[in-house]
Amino acid sequence: MPVAGPEIAATRRDATAGTVGFSRTLRAAGLAVTTDRIQRLVEAMAALDPGRRDDVYWAGRLTVCAGPDDVPRYDAAFAAYFAGATSGQPRRAPLVRPASVPVGVEAPLADPGDPEGDEEVPAVAASASAVEVLRQRDIATLQGAERELLQRLLAVFDLPGEQRRSRRYRPAHRGRIDRARTVRELLHGGGEPVRLQYERHRHRPRRVVLLVDVSGSMSAYADALLRFAHAATRRRDVPTEVFTIGTRLTRVTREMAHRDSRTALAAAATAVPDWSGGTRLGVLLKEFLDRWGQRGVARGAIVVVLSDGWERGDAGLLGAQMERLSRLAHRVVWANPRKGHPGYAPLAAGMAAALPYVDDFVEGHSLAALEQLAKVVAARA
């Protein structure tokens, strides 16, 4: 019954043009705005009231955001676009993320004084932040033929995960009787008893979580370790998560998903704001556990910490968090490049506090050491 009159068509055209401009701003803010998402956004706008700011806000947020981390970016882009600033957007999301309270909505969902938004985007400003070096590290500028060789070797690196028993079954020659398959076989034979079919639990690799320290004291190793992480992520059959720790916690799993290692590392370099800053291992480990680990990322996983254990904060906190991690994870592996140095003893306060909760303490300073680490992760050492 509704016939689109000329004025509706005009509105729709305007709305579409506006939506495209808006989505460009969103994309600049770092949101994955795909064509089908734009289509969904236009549909949603048409179903709502495009004249109402709230309706436009929600139409966009419901169709474009894909996770709580996207919401502050969306809010910032929304506020910027509808304040008239359509160009000159920063290439990345703001480094200091606002709490997840919508900006620029007439009726905010949460009381601004309400601290509950904190648990999603915890405020991690602390002493080391003051000296945080927020600079974009260009990973492509690596010197020396040795480095190049190392990169090539790391690119073909293999990190198989340790196997765990899955709930699923697979056909096997021995094991428990596979009733469904036996009956299916029976039906084939017209109901005549045939051979019993068996099944066994399938085995799947455990999740591997890599926490890569990118602070100043680790700067000589960070590139190689991230390449190692990239090689580990590339194995599609092993679920792998990569985080960088320094003065902030950054999840770089998505960046690492690029097939090409150079693209992946460049993406990671853009995403990580705290190259060569200080280290706050305890605080960041806590943030990791609160935001990711406890919910399931660390559960039953092999968690590998690649760090020298140099803690500027409270070593007691690090110990407590390591204890928590060791209860969640299947195994905790700590790879410390300093361990490879002659005469090393785990005297750094952070390392000493963490050590009781580490299942495997390995080196990480050379390619051979990284190969050893891969074996430890796969429980084949």
């Binding site: 509706i8 048409a46 179903a47 996770g67 469904a180 009956v183 679920p239």
Partner: protein, 312 residues
């Protein structure tokens, strides 16, 4: 701004008389769910444009509850698919009832009809031997609300499979042909974010992150869901929970915990919160030993006293 364009588009599954998100919000409230404007808009769009709703948030913020309430509002049955690791198509979609097929075969044999093999086989793969699991049941029930709960617990292969079913709402059974939903069900997918759900699935849905409610909404929720609670008790409990959430806890209490706590207090015959009662019933709010210890260190008494003074 241009004047509103006239709105007479297809209603989708929206109940009669609901033309905007606010109307839906009010209807949800009548049925005991206090939704914020964002969630109401998401539900409105999901009903109107037949797209799944993807809800994420902390445990206990009401993700599952909204699906139940939507079912009540639409007077449609709620069909729930609880995901877990290792779930596969035969548990989610359909399965052949092998024992019954076998019985049928034996019965036919006994009746001396074993000769006509083709006819017998056609009989075996009949709809009546097909066990509809939640996804198929939802496609065959119109209208219905399909709740795919905790999709993050299932493996990622299952997600791809779900994507296939949810994108065109058809199921192909090789022996029977394609089964299609007359009207697609309302689909609510929830996730606790234990892992990142694949973007392809999210792209097909309206994504909404549910936050903990603010103080006023929480008081209203307690009053609505636990009618025996006095206004004073509801306000005190909500204030105390809001303060606990501000603390650095492993598992900040959700709305479900607030309601549990209120119910526990009422079961103890309390009409207001005090330090003694709070200490005794802390187990219904904080479910980690570390959190309880932390709360003890914080001095629950003082916290409750402040909550009572400030919120009541």
């Amino acid at each position: 701004m241009e004047p509103d364009p006239p709105r007479s588009p297809p209603r989708g599954l929206l109940p009669l008389g609901i033309t905007d998100p606010e109307g839906l919000r009010a209807r949800l409230e009548e049925h005991g769910y206090l939704a914020d404007p964002g969630l109401a808009t998401a539900c409105f769009l999901a009903l109107r444009l037949h797209r799944p709703l993807f809800l994420e948030g902390e445990a206990g913020v009401g993700k599952t509850e909204i699906a139940k309430t939507l079912a009540t509002v639409l007077s449609a049955p709620l069909i729930r698919l609880q995901c877990y690791e290792g779930i596969d198509a035969s548990q989610a979609l359909y399965d052949w009832d092998f024992p019954r097929q076998l019985l049928h075969l034996r019965a036919a044999e006994a009746a001396g009809r074993a000769g006509d093999a083709d006819a017998l086989e056609a009989e075996l793969y009949d709809r009546r031997f097909l066990l509809a699991r939640p996804l198929l049941a939802a496609l065959e029930t119109t209208p219905s609300v399909l709740l795919v709960d905790e999709v993050d617990r299932a493996d990622d292969e299952f997600e791809a499979f779900l994507l296939e079913v949810l994108s065109d709402f058809t199921v192909t059974v090789p022996e029977l042909g394609t089964l299609r939903a007359d009207v697609p069900p309302v689909v609510v997918v929830t996730s606790n974010r234990t892992r990142e759900v694949h973007d392809a699935l999210k792209r097909r849905c309206y994504y909404h992150w549910i936050d903990h409610p603010d103080f006023d909404r929480e008081v209203a929720i307690v009053r609505r869901r636990v009618p025996q609670a006095s206004a004073r008790l509801a306000a005190q409990v909500a204030a105390a929970v809001q303060r606990l959430r501000a603390e650095d806890l492993f598992k900040p209490p959700g709305v479900a915990e607030t309601l549990d706590w209120t119910e526990a207090l009422i079961a103890l015959g309390a009409d207001q919160l005090d330090a003694e009662l709070a200490r005794a019933t802390l187990g219904s709010v904080l479910k980690y030993r570390e959190d309880q210890e932390r709360a003890r260190l914080l001095d629950v008494g003082a916290l409750v006293a402040r909550a009572v003074a400030g919120g009541g």
